[in-house]
Point group: C2
Chain length 302, copies 2
């Protein structure tokens, strides 16, 4: 393992431990009736790469700040939104997937009605967490910052649904690269960018030139993530992927490998990563963690 | 028509016109792709009594204030949450209803996948609206108030889902009155109370004694609404109700008439209304609009 890969693994592992702990604490703070509680824990606690919280933490690490609790709440909130979207995506009327992260999907384990409601409640729980005092140790955060976090999260969540609709509309059709990018900027990119921007508005003032740099970074890394996902759907085995491989091809989804060919898709992923790193160069050494995650995302096999 | 009934009808009609106009303006501000856009408009614009926005406006009318735009946003947000819940409740994996407000339900008109996504996006749109500058004419509202609105809405939305789960769990079982009230305080009561409290925190300081009075009013009227709903399911015709009558009995739902008998259920509805009016007595003449709506809710036939 190269030194860079090893740093990436450490940053990711540390973020994963943090978010696992914080998600547990957050979920435990809710009084949910069974079987909803079981379904919510199932949807949230199975694991996954936790890329969004990791990006949230790594962005907050760009400078020393006193808003640790607010960043931790943002990371939990964005992951809850991500988990709600997965629970709903897997439903029979959507992708009808039975396997997620190597485990039965939420509706397979808990029934369709409970999986639907688990997704629904995860969405409102995200805003409850954001507006709570969870993880606070003293200094309360200004309301204006929480409000900005909420706006970013809500806008990205709506975009995510729009992207999902555009994606369903494109099934079985041949779309061009511009249309495909529009799908992915909404479907996946928006929430990844939100994870970064929720931290950004917490630690930087609205007028700070860091903000547009991070927005650019978020855009590039968000799209790069999806291109890589498309590539892995072609190249990886179901076992490694933890979800059904080759699924995109089967339902005639438009993907980057299908559109550009595998080699060109890989080159495009590399190009987007270079763009992401370019945006980070503004921060110099301070962006070490964001660098590490960017590196990990390009190298990932699942 | 008695004078009181006529005032009630006027207050309701005026609220309905206002919310119809504001919902249109709010939805038009979003760029949604088809068929999501069609499904969202279908779910939202079909009408309905608009009880929650009416309660929101009537609460804000308790005193002169300068936060008209924030109250209008709150009314839109709470109605979007209500509409999302209806779209999801009607889905085949839930109540499997094909008729709502005398029209085909969202999934009948647009397909299950689109109805699911319409519900999902309506939830995030509610928070987008809340955090927006929609309807603003000048004075921006303090972030702290919007944050409180968000907390109230998110908590009520989570409770609504919990109530839904408790309700499903109770089907075919005999539950006692305490359990039934717990279901309804969550499933219906929480969001009705939220409509009132979102306006309350906008126009009153947190320490104002008006706040607990309105919380009490919201609790009583929320439960009264559901008791009345149960009664109408037994007594009304499908045509008047705009949704399938007798449905509760069919799926062996626990209801107040089933638990207490029809007469006792009607007496209980009256008692809850009296409690609601008692809480309003604190406001004297200022609560005229809230009185009128309370009156309407007890007398309603659908």
């Amino acid at each position: 393992m190269s030194i860079i890969a090893s740093i990436s693994a450490d940053v990711l592992k540390s973020a994963q431990q943090q978010i696992q702990q914080d998600l547990t604490q957050a979920l435990d703070a809710f009084a949910l009736p069974e079987p909803l509680k079981g379904a919510v824990y199932h949807a949230v606690m199975l694991g996954g790469k936790r890329v969004r919280p990791a990006l949230c933490y790594a962005t907050a690490a760009l400078q020393p700040h006193r808003h640790v609790a607010a960043v931790r709440r943002a990371a939990v909130a964005v992951e809850l939104i991500h988990c709600y979207s997965l629970a709903h995506d897997d439903l029979p009327c959507m992708d009808n997937d039975s396997l997620r992260r190597g485990q039965p999907t939420c509706h397979v384990a808990f029934g369709e009605d409970t999986a639907l409601l688990a997704g629904d409640v995860l969405q409102s729980m995200a805003y409850e967490v954001l507006g709570s005092r969870l993880f606070d140790t003293g200094v309360a955060i200004e309301s204006g910052i929480v409000l900005k976090q909420m706006q970013i999260l809500a806008t990205a969540s709506s975009k995510m649904v729009c992207g999902q609709v555009l994606d369903l509309q494109a099934e079985g059709k041949k779309v061009n690269q511009e249309a495909l990018e529009n799908i992915h900027r909404n479907k996946t990119g928006a929430l990844i960018q939100a994870a970064i921007m929720m931290a950004a508005v917490t630690i930087f003032k609205g007028t700070d030139p860091a903000i547009p740099q991070l927005r650019q970074f978020g855009q590039s890394i968000g799209l790069a993530f999806q291109v890589q996902d498309d590539i892995l759907d072609v190249t990886a085995e179901t076992e490694v992927l933890g979800k059904t491989a080759g699924k995109d091809l089967e339902v005639e989804k438009s993907t980057y490998p299908a559109l550009l060919g595998l080699d060109a898709a890989q080159a495009y992923a590399q190009q987007l990563h270079d763009q992401a790193l370019q945006a980070l160069s503004y921060f110099g050494e301070d962006a070490q963690q964001l660098h590490a995650i960017t590196q990990f995302l390009l190298a990932r096999q699942h």
